[in-house]
């Protein structure tokens, strides 16, 4: 008896849509019950994302779930026809990350989640008029003018509850009156971008952190709805700018899957090499900036040498050092530079030596150990509940590497280890990245001499149209799982393009793991999670 039949047994009113990932269509009032069943009885313990949707006749959400034991995925959809006061039940009590994900949906679609403990806007101003991702959104700039005044701030948050069949709004406070609240950010060296932690302190001890996001929200998902598919690719460089290649790869795979084409093998190999080079560069920068946050400024210069070398390689092939825009639908924009193989081999030769040097200088240091070990422990279950993927999730003992769990491209053929540690502290997260550099080096070593000859881009139509339908693709970015959800109505523009970024989860877990630690530990923990702000805000 497969899962579909079992669920049909429990919920006779549910309808099913088969595909790569099974989708259950459930009436809104049964949403929470189904979610609970899926989590508790079928083991879908990881909420990958909540995709807010506006189908014009109804508003709703698609929930993507994953079973961390057998790696299977499932999705379910709930919708409401009420456009004035759309409300769905919150699943925040089942998955902790849902608090933030539901806030995002509320921000963009205005769907109220009943029983969500923190129903505020997430990215937009609290006085923003309208819900931008609704299809009937009024883009008139006079409604939301650019002001020179500071945005209104409020300590209030709202909880919606159903009482006697009616929705009731309760007002609650984020901070109490006598809390000593320090703003760490938006302009602060430790937040690595424009992110703001409102930190309630008791002396040096952190009582609570309210993560305030959205300072560089650019509305990428909204913009993509008015662009053709090849144009949407450009934004992938501008989310997590350190895993630009990986994100490009993800979106390309999703569109290629929808079109039913496959990139030539040469393109696939080069894409994987580029992904892994980005990973080395990203982790090198992480190590450097992290050590700098902890006061060991010198490490930054040591690690940047490797990163510079990688950027030089990228520059020769892609023509850019940050916004590469290299993968395109069907393959690659251009062939590799003639010196590419030689340059990469030079890099591979020095990488292990450099990692040994970093370990000698920093990892074994007694002060480093004191600062990192046992600080910011994230348990295995919390990691899954918060959806912390990537090296940070693997430091908590959760084997969540998409390259292994849901292999794509040529990853199944490659031999490499998934680096997993069980301590869950900052040191484990730090060491995981150190070890992943070595794994990436191994992967590139297997490929660099075997780049097959042939076309670097498949033949694709001049105007790319996707058939009607929806697709979901996940890949491994440098910081965790990156997902793309595309829904198409058959045109050359996506009807909805949702980006699932790992850093939103990373930022939202900060409050949980810093409670009771010292301010200095906030830097340690925030740094070890390695979030990238444009990736949070999109």
């Amino acid at each position: 008896m497969n899962i579909q039949e079992k669920i049909a047994g429990f919920f006779p009113e549910a309808s099913f849509e088969e595909g790569e990932i099974l989708r259950i269509d459930i009436p809104a009032e049964k949403l929470h019950e189904l979610a609970q069943k899926l989590r508790d009885e079928f083991g879908y313990d990881y909420l990958v994302t909540i995709v807010g949707m506006d189908w014009t006749d109804s508003l709703g959400c698609i929930y993507y779930l994953m079973n961390t034991a057998d790696k299977s995925q499932i999705s379910f959809k709930a919708a409401t026809a009420d456009r004035e006061h759309p409300a769905l039940d919150s699943v925040a009590d089942l998955w902790k990350i849902a608090v933030i994900l539901e806030r995002e949906v509320y921000d963009f679609f205005g769907i109220i989640f009943v029983n969500n403990p923190d129903m505020r806007r997430l990215f937009l101003n609290i006085d923003w008029v309208g819900y931008p991702l609704r299809k009937d959104y009024d883009e008139n700039p006079e409604l939301n003018p650019v002001t020179t005044e500071s945005e209104r701030q409020s300590d209030e948050t709202y909880v919606w509850k159903r009482e006697d069949g009616k929705l009731v709004k309760h007002v609650e406070r984020v901070f109490q009156d006598d809390d000593f609240v320090v703003n760490i950010g938006p302009q602060h060296p430790a937040t690595h971008g424009v992110l703001r932690f409102r930190t309630a302190l008791d002396g040096e001890i952190i009582k609570k952190i309210d993560v305030y996001m959205g300072y560089i929200h650019r509305g990428v998902e909204k913009l993509c709805e008015n662009l053709q598919y090849p144009q949407t690719l450009h934004f992938m460089d501008r989310l997590d700018y350190f895993s630009a290649h990986n994100y490009h790869h993800g979106l390309c795979l999703c569109i290629e899957k929808a079109m039913g084409i496959e990139a030539p093998r040469r393109a696939q190999v080069i894409r994987v090499i580029m992904d892994e080079l980005s990973r080395i560069a990203s982790h090198c920068l992480f190590i450097g900036t992290y050590c700098m946050d902890l006061g060991a400024t010198t490490m930054l210069f040591y690690t940047l040498r490797v990163r510079e070398q990688i950027l030089d390689i990228m520059e020769r092939t892609c023509g850019a050092r940050m916004t590469f825009n290299y993968s395109c639908i069907g393959g690659l924009m251009a062939d590799i530079h003639p010196d590419f193989v030689k340059d990469v081999k030079e890099l591979l030769a020095i990488c292990p030596k450099n990692v040994a040097e970093y370990n000698k200088l920093f990892t074994g240091n007694v002060i480093t150990k004191g600062r990192l070990e046992g600080v910011g422990v994230l348990t295995h279950d919390d990691a899954i509940s918060y959806g912390i993927t990537g090296p940070s999730g693997r430091a908590s003992g959760w084997a969540c590497d998409v390259r292994k769990t849901h292999p794509y491209s040529i990853y199944p053929e490659l031999k490499f280890e998934q680096v997993v540690r069980t301590e869950g502290d900052s040191m484990a997260r730090f060491k995981n990245r150190m070890d992943e550099i070595q794994q990436s080096v191994d992967i590139i070593n297997q490929l660099i001499d075997n780049i097959p000859e042939g076309e670097y881009c498949a033949k694709v139509p001049k105007i790319i149209k996707l058939p009607e339908g929806h697709w979901f693709q996940i890949v491994e970015g440098c910081r965790g799982l990156f997902g793309v959800y595309i829904e198409s109505k058959g045109g050359n523009q996506p009807y909805r393009l949702k980006l699932v970024t790992p850093c939103l989860n990373l930022a939202s877990v900060v409050d949980h793991i810093t409670r009771g630690d010292k301010i200095a530990d906030l830097i340690t923990i925030g740094g070890s999670l390695d979030y990238i702000v444009p990736d949070i805000d999109r």
Binding site: V182, P189, L294, T297, Y302, I367, G370, R371
Partner: protein
Amino acid sequence: MFNFSIVTEWIHNLLASFMPGWLTTTVECVLIGVGLLLVYSLLALFYIYYERKICAFIQCRLGPNRVGPMGLLQVFADMFKMLIKELITINNTDKFLFALAPYLVIIASMLSFACLPWGNGLQVINFNIGIFFLIAVSSIGVLGILLAGWSSNNKYTLIGAMRSGAQMVSYELSIGLSIITMVCLAGTMSIPGIVEAQENGWFIFTGHIPAIIAFIIYLIAGTAETNRGPFDLPEAESELTAGYHTEYSGIHFGFFYLAEYLNLFIVSGVAALLFFGGWMPFHVPGWEGFNDIMNYIPSPIWFIGKAIIISAIIIWFKWTFPRLRIDQLLTLEWKYLLPINLVNLVLMVLVVVYNLHF
């Protein structure tokens, strides 16, 4: 060894020959003050350049190399920039304390700077509790830092100042105890007296084990006392932007900055005084020829040279180690350094009493 007291005596006699006594004293005070200020600022400029070059060397960089030959004029350019910058006044601060704080810091630094034994006979003031005076005046600095943090009316500066207060008060203890250990060995608190006691061998050699322990503790505590890495929590820029001096600009910021570099020199200078013989050249008992050659090197060069080399070690710390956390910092002091120091003091007393030193 050339005795600079000949020069100072000559100046004194010259002035006294045509001036009444009170005017002579006043003129001498002014001359010494101006001289000290000059040396102070020049040394600060040198230290900024020196640290940047060492730091660049450690970090595989070149350091300043554009302004002037080898970037030597860079620090002057920086200094003039600092001097001509606007002093920004901030609303809702305690104006008087806000303005007072940098002067307290720089005065504390100046006063302890003046105590250092610059050379044979080059001593601003010589009284029998010189080293005691030095400890006393150097403690005023923490007051300035606390005031700066408090009066800025900013949460970052307040936290920075609190940390700084806790840190400096704690490490003062270690510095004091290791100084007392060496005073035991020297048998005097007078600064020239301590230098002269090392004529036949620096204390680091003659005092053997307790002296070496005292030196290591002094170096750690001195690094902490000057708020330098790995103990730079008060201004941990990744946590508190710039700590207690976040809100300062222009020359007021410059004062903090100068005092910080000069405190580095003062801490190294005191280390040179207590463990490496102050201005005393390197002497090996019995090697008369060698000792004579050493004596040819002028005494101020000996003193400043030693101080600069010790500073290099402290700078090396900063560019190598990550920063400690406040609780780890205090644990290090109260649970490790302080007990070790007390035991070391007893050890030194035993060494002195039983005449076990060389």
